[in-house]
């Protein structure tokens, strides 16, 4: 489709339309909202990782002056009955309901048990302390390998292993076994001159958005529910509420406030149903619930810790003959880890004839895994890319040359057999190999350079948008995609490009669920791709309508009017976009359009990262000296925000690689549930992050867009591990590669 080679707006760097509000503090995030008569809530959370709830006594809390309502699982609709009538497809709703408030069992430290609404947040917090819960404490299961053992304590009373529709007979913590098989790995390994086999462990990590979850609800007397919240997808919130509260969709309106980061962690609801129930129970008062970071870390997110075994073999010439992986991912308390995504990523950048992947989705006593930027991909790439580095070493090959030799190209088949379309894997690896960073000398002791590649499939999904033309030629755009990282800009730019008008003429607005058509959340690197596509269609429709208006004015057929360079013309008649907009009154009134799209032709993204590290062999500390991230983005709509996405992904990947990780004590209590001890990188922990944008347009998008946000988090831990090896000669196979682990690997402690 990419008939346009040069763009007027796409590829430029305009100021974001919501910028002034955000730098002056005026932008309204969920916790900034104040409604008349608003009550404040507090949540009682389980101090135990695994415990049966024998009784809950809320009477003392209810008696505290200022307390307006107390809600427990008994106030949630009985989804059990619904599940029975609908079959297994609704199983997620049941688990989600159980996650909102613990019902029979508390399944992780921090699992919500009861919630209070009161006149002030301080009273609500005092009331929570007055709730008496009688627990029967059970042994926790915190380790994925332990959870898989036959004699492990069982978390869920009905879980049997699913193997593509076939259910196991025994109760288990292994929710599912997935398998992908291509060719014959045994034969492949026989052909190999060199094989490498290693086991990797990765910690549970959190998305780490700075704004905690918050939700305000008004359950009106007429049964209408309005929710103001911090979410990546307002329609997703509506869908979840409909199921959990068992109310009709038409009764729910979700207003997405500005969102202070999500990274996948703000798709699932946690507080929204509680705020709604409290509002109903407190006499239809608006109720606000907010988390602090202890709650965020112990009861939202995280993404799966994992154990991954990888074996790869290659011929002397570097051709990889076989690759095998065994992946076990923690799902948290309920099934649903991103293990299948990990299986998609693990050998994604390579064309390999013989592949065997086994993936296991395993429940443990931790919060249920939520999506996190390329979910499951970082774990998988850490394992595979370290093994490839070792293969390169054993073969005596440059690690990027080895990757290039095996790089996937259009037509190559992934492990699941599906063939790649036009992809930029080779272009990315070549750009990395040719980058000055890769060639630069790295003098000094205990320093090393590592590289790693990564892939991510991206996504499309449903997007809607509507627009109305103003008489001055500006255009009001209403979209349903929550703006987390500047998507108002990238969406407006695509509409401006299509309409051939300045981007400043577009007035974007993110609308609530009553105002715009169904739009999936801002996740999966889909927004610039799919909502961008929606506004491309929207722009074409507006142009069509305006051609009709011009035809009216000029008394010609609409088909005779052309639109070029921002000017409508026919014969000698010419009107600019703004001029024609000024004549709407005489030609039939307002010009408005709405579209909805559901594109399926998203394009995968590839990245290659180069990192220089210095290791202090006495303390085990790893410092990042220089970082370069190369990535195919299809087409960079707003290059500054593309760079920002890449830099942000790298920063999270560095944290995952070096310092982040859940630390549970033996009883299963999360000991580092604060931003002090859950160590995300500060400005002093990161160097400048150089980005190299490669543009291999996605033929499946009108402007060649792929998706940017996810793949940059995939390579960093592997690249750092490979750099550490070059620096001090030890292979780190456990994340995070904390100073203690580096010291241990060096035999120092």
């Amino acid at each position: 489709m990419n008939e346009k080679e040069t763009y007027r707006v796409i590829g430029t760097r305009p100021l974001r339309p919501d910028g002034a509000d955000k730098v002056t503090g005026r932008a309204l995030y969920g916790a900034d909202l104040r409604l008349p008569g608003m009550l404040y809530g507090a949540v009682l959370r389980s101090p135990h990782a695994h415990a049966r709830i024998l009784s809950i006594d809320t009477s003392a809390a209810e008696a505290l002056p200022g307390v307006k309502a107390v809600v427990t699982a008994a106030d949630l609709p009985d989804v059990e009955a619904k599940v029975a009538s609908l079959g297994e497809g609704s199983v997620n709703t049941r688990y989600q309901s159980w996650n909102i408030l613990a019902r029979e069992k508390a399944l992780y430290y921090g699992h919500a048990v009861a919630v209070v609404a009161a006149a002030s947040v301080h009273i609500a917090q005092e009331a929570v302390k007055l709730i008496r819960v009688n627990y029967e404490v059970l042994p926790p299961v915190l380790d994925v390998l332990q959870a898989m053992q036959a004699d492990a304590p069982i978390l869920l009373r009905d879980l049997r292993t699913d193997e593509l529709g076939e259910k196991g007979s025994a109760l288990t913590n292994v929710a599912a076994h997935h398998q992908t098989k291509k060719g014959d790995v045994e034969r492949g390994f026989q052909e190999a001159a060199v094989t490498v086999e290693r086991e990797f462990h990765t910690a549970t990590v959190h998305q780490g958005y700075i704004e905690p979850q918050n939700a305000t609800a008004l359950y009106n007397q007429d049964g209408r529910i309005t929710i103001w919240c911090s979410t990546q997808g307002s329609f997703g919130v509506r869908d979840q509420l409909k199921d959990i509260l068992d109310v009709p969709v038409a009764q729910i309106k979700v207003v997405p406030m500005e969102i202070g980061g999500g990274f996948g962690g703000k798709n699932n609801v946690y507080l929204e149903p509680l705020a709604a129930l409290l509002s109903k129970k407190s006499g239809h008062k608006p109720v606000r619930l907010t988390m602090n970071h202890a709650d965020v870390l112990s009861a939202t997110g995280p993404t799966s810790g994992s154990v991954i075994r990888v074996k790869m073999g290659a011929r002397k010439d570097g051709r990889i003959t076989a690759a095998q992986a065994w992946l076990a991912y923690e799902a948290g308390a309920f099934p649903g880890s991103p293990v299948t995504s990990g299986m998609g990523v693990i050998f994604g950048p390579y064309a390999i004839e013989n592949v065997l992947l086994d993936g296991y989705d395993v429940v443990v006593n931790k919060p249920p895994a939520a999506a996190y930027r390329a979910p499951g991909g970082t774990n998988a790439a850490f394992a595979a890319e370290v093994v490839i580095d070792e293969l390169a070493e054993k073969l005596g090959m440059d690690p990027l040359d080895l990757r290039l030799l095996n790089a996937a190209k259009e037509g190559d088949r992934k492990a699941d057999g599906v063939a790649y379309g036009r992809i930029g894997c080779v272009e990315v690896l070549e750009a990395a190999r040719n980058h000055p960073h890769y060639r630069a000398p790295l003098p000094g002791k205990f320093r090393g350079r590592g590289v790693a590649a990564g892939s991510w499939g991206n996504y499309g999904g449903k997007s809607s948008a509507s627009a109305s033309v103003n008489s001055d030629g500006s255009v009001n755009l209403v979209e349903g995609s929550v703006d987390i990282g500047g998507s108002r800009a990238s969406i407006s730019m695509q509409l401006a490009e299509t309409l051939q008008i300045p981007v400043e003429s577009i007035r974007p607005q993110v609308a609530d669920t009553d105002t715009v058509g169904y739009t999936e959340g801002t996740y999966g690197s889909r927004t610039t791709f799919a909502t961008g596509w929606a506004v491309y269609e929207l722009g074409r429709r507006l142009i069509g309508l305006l051609c009709e208006r011009a035809a009216q004015l000029w008394d010609v057929e609409p088909g005779q009017v052309t639109y070029e360079g921002g000017v409508f013309s026919c014969g000698g008649q010419r009107l600019s976009f703004a001029e024609l907009a000024g004549k709407m009154d005489e030609t039939g009134g307002a010009v408005v359009a709405s579209v909805s799209v559901q594109p399926e032709t998203w394009g995968p993204a590839f990245a290659a990262h180069i990192v220089d590290v210095e290791v202090d062999p006495e303390t085990g500390k790893v410092d990042i000296l220089r970082y370069t991230a190369v990535q195919d983005v299809g087409k960079a709509v707003h290059p500054a925000y593309v760079e920002g996405q890449i830099q942000g992904g790298v920063a999270q990947g560095v944290g995952w690689g070096l310092s982040e990780g859940y630390y549970y004590d033996a009883q299963g209590r999360l000991a580092n549930a604060s931003l002090l001890d859950y160590r995300m990188p500060t400005s002093l922990d990161l160097p400048a992050i150089e980005t190299v944008i490669v543009e291999v347009p996605n033929p499946g998008h009108p402007y060649g867009v792929r998706g940017v946000g996810e793949v940059p988090i995939v390579p960093p831990p592997a690249a750092i591990a490979n750099a550490i090896y070059r620096a001090v000669g030890v292979r780190l196979t456990t994340l995070p590669m904390s100073p203690a682990r580096v010291l241990e690997a060096l035999g120092k402690a």
Binding site: T619, S659, Y663, P739, A740, A749
Partner: protein, 294 residues
Amino acid sequence: MRAFEYLSASSVREAVEALAARNGRARVLAGGTDLIVQLREGRREVDLVVDIKAIPEANRLEFDLQTGLLVGAAVPCYRMVGFLNAAGIYPGLAAAAGLVGGTQIQGRATLGGNLCNASPAADTIPALIVHRAACLITGPQGERELPAEDFCTGPGQTALQPGEFLLALRLPPEPEGFGAHYVRFTPRNEMDIAVAGAGASLRLAGSPARIIEARVALGAVAPTPLLVREAGASLVGKAPTLEAFEEAGRLAREAARPIDDMRGTAAQRRHLSGVLVRRALETAYQRASRGGDA
């Protein structure tokens, strides 16, 4: 947060009386960077918070060549660090105090608060110990002084008696040939709590130089900051060599009683104790051989 009363005391007497009257249910507020968090998280419950920032004696920040340094308990870190750096004095203490939190925390946190919070990992306490700092305590029975190494009695526990509070810290002048330093290890470069920390001071005399006095203190490897007397003693009489520093480090490693927790492992902390003591001594030695910290 549970409700409490607030008093901004304007005199030592007013503070002492208010604290004594609440019989252990009152707590001093200086910078608040620990206390407010503890109150909010319900880890500490009080009926009264006594703010000492308006007490003139708690705000003193004075240096005298004869009597040394006096730092009021309410002096925020940024102010003290700026004062020390501008005057070029007590660089070892400045190094430690400058590590307490990021810029925002530096604007509020105090030396006195760091001491009274009695965290085993507090950065300033090992530095105070190796500087032979004295804690000036005031209370219903009047004033008393206590060596910094005796102030903390357990995690969050101090030698303060009911009604008493820490008014100021006094550091003796840095004698000729004296140098001190504090180093810590944290995985992040800022905004982190010491996995292990080490303070060291030594005094050189003679030619060729010999160590005539030395102190070594550890943080985050025991229930309280630890003065490792044997490590200091091992240095006295020796030439300031790497071997001597490493031997002191080895003794410190043996004295450490670390645990595994979310911030680090026991093995790592034990190992770091030795490394950090050596590093602290190396810098202390450089300072000493330049003719003292001043």
